[in-house]
Amino acid sequence: MQRGVHGSTLAAPSHVARASRCAASLPLTVRRLLFPYLFVWVLGFAVIRIAVVPAEVCPDVTADEVHAAAVASADWLARNLDEDGKFVYGYNRETVEVNPDYNIVRHAGGTMSLYQMVLAGETDFLPAADRAMGYLLDRLVVADDYATIADHGDRARLGTVGFVVSSLIMRREATGDTSYDELMQQFGRFMLGQQLPDGAMLAFWDRETEAPSPNERGPFATGEALWALFELDRLYPEGGWDEPALLTAQYLARGQRERDEGYLARLPDHWAAYSLEAMAPDLRDEEMVEYARRLAGYFSMRTRIEAQRRGEGINVLVRYYPGPPAGVGTAGEGMAALYRMAAEDERLADLRPDMAERLECLAGIQVKSQISASQAAAGPNPGLTEGAWFYLDYTQVDGQQHVLSALLGAEQAMREMEETAE
């Protein structure tokens, strides 16, 4: 109603007069009212469609294609590993330059993904994985009853050690070789030495003082170490790894890490997802299940946004370019870990179909954006491009690592869904 009418309850002079006029001329009312509204509706719909919910496009792929993409990615890692077991860290196809930098945590992550391939049955990658592991073990530091990895006199990084332990456990499962058992437990004791009373973990260890660097945290180091601790607990249930691991798991689940490290939002921590998967079922209380649900939500949203990215036209303005493969991959591998966890935990069973759908979608996107052999052959240095994913013409070892892990998880989910459908 119509300002000027509301003020007086029954006397509605302007309103009645207007109503009478309009009743006499319906087309005019239609023009004056409906057309502007229609314009606003159409404009609003267009804005919502373009800016808020662009089409989520998930290319169709088969489980075999997903597996082949994972193998091609592992091939990139194996091919770009030198005699010392060091990966090519990064490559820019625009400038045709290899990035001379290096990061030992990412090296350890790449190594871990090669062992994931071995564990998935691709045993041809074992020599490459072992060579990459050799690069890490060449930097072994043993002190008292614990051991760590420190690169070129640098401080030891908690995440590196976490990956080494998880990798060696995968290697043990794949090969049955128990020769690293004692070393793995020494690494485990190192990680416990980094733990604070509230469950937080310090990210660095100083070689000179042979002690943790105080007050230095890392956003993902805690999850990387936690995963390894739960893997140790799985391997040695009587080893006493469960209590400290649970303490750190609670530290993460309660959001204390984000408060301590100054993050406004909860971190979508894929390593925490791996940790929850590795956690013994009797330790998984409702708090852990709720944390798993929360993480699954983050990974899902990341995947949905990725599916909305076209990388061209007006879509670039609202969604930017398709995300860095490492970032997209983490969402996939985190979701895959939770998918496997949900297979054992009835409390998460309701999420499995949606998780599988997101994994399949992400796999489709990544398979279609991977550099094929023919695309690689058309440019310089095909060995540095084939099987890789590029973000703004740059690829890096962790891009291959994270997507590879995500693809392996997606493949499993797709095969299980196919079986269920049959």
């Binding site: 109603m1 119509q2 300002r3 000027g4 009418v5 509301h6 003020g7 309850t9 029954l10 509605a12 309103h15 009645v16 207007r18 109503a19 009478s20 006029r21 309009c22 009743a23 319906l26 005019l28 009312t29 004056r32 009212l33 409906l34 509204y37 509706w41 609003g44 919502i48 469609r49 808020v52 919910v53 089409a55 989520e56 496009v57 649900r293 929360r294 699954a296 939500g297 983050y298 990974f299 899902s300 949203m301 949905r304 909305q308 999420l351 949606d354 998780m355 997101r358």
Partner: protein, 191 residues
């Protein structure tokens, strides 16, 4: 998001009812209705509400197919609908009274202004698609019917204290913002 994510059907129904009522905003509709004799108002109000019910229920019932066609997951639409209803809620808070617009007389009032632009609004359409795409027909359509019934009842009330009606309209705007926040957060947490 205890309320939305719960498996408790009653809680979901209550939430859907509150969301629909906040979207329709009965006091705002009442302010926007021509001030006429009770019986004269009842017919157009009922007819307009029935028309909106049919259109909106059709949207809700075809929501899944529609979202599929547009390649939008229900989880993403939950966030989008949260944004839509949040913007409308903010606007209602600022301006609880609609602008002066032409209306039709007699039964024509069922069409303009009752059905359009008062009842059939972007926020109502967005919520109908959301509940139609994610909840049961009982929730999506049943709660819509109930909220429109409440709206008809409020529409028949006498408007004596203008300030009270405006405050009520603002209250429903604020409620819409709460619904929006819940939907966006739930959209982030949905898998």
């Amino acid at each position: 998001m205890i309320l939305i994510s719960t498996e408790n059907t009653t809680a979901i129904m209550v939430f859907a009812f509150i969301a629909y009522v906040a979207a329709v905003n009965p006091p705002r509709l009442r302010i926007g209705l021509p001030e006429s004799h009770g019986r004269a108002r009842f017919g157009p109000l009922l007819a307009g509400s029935a028309l909106v019910f049919v259109i909106t229920a059709a949207l809700a019932l075809s929501a899944e197919a529609m979202l599929d066609w547009f390649q939008i997951t229900a989880e993403s639409w939950r966030m989008a609908s949260g944004i839509i209803v949040g913007l409308v809620g903010a606007r209602v808070l600022v301006a609880p009274q609609r602008a002066d617009e032409p209306v039709l007389d007699g039964w024509g009032a069922a069409l303009v202004p009752v059905a359009f632009p008062l009842l059939f609004t972007p926020q109502l359409a967005a919520l109908a698609v959301l509940f139609g795409g994610t909840e049961s027909t009982t929730v999506a359509v049943g709660m819509l019917a109930l909220s429109l019934a409440v709206t008809v009842a409020v529409g028949m009330m006498r408007r004596t204290r203008e300030a009270l009606w405006l405050a009520s309209a603002r209250f429903f705007g604020a409620l819409l913002i709460i619904v929006a926040v819940l939907e966006v957060v739930e959209g982030i947490r949905d898998v």
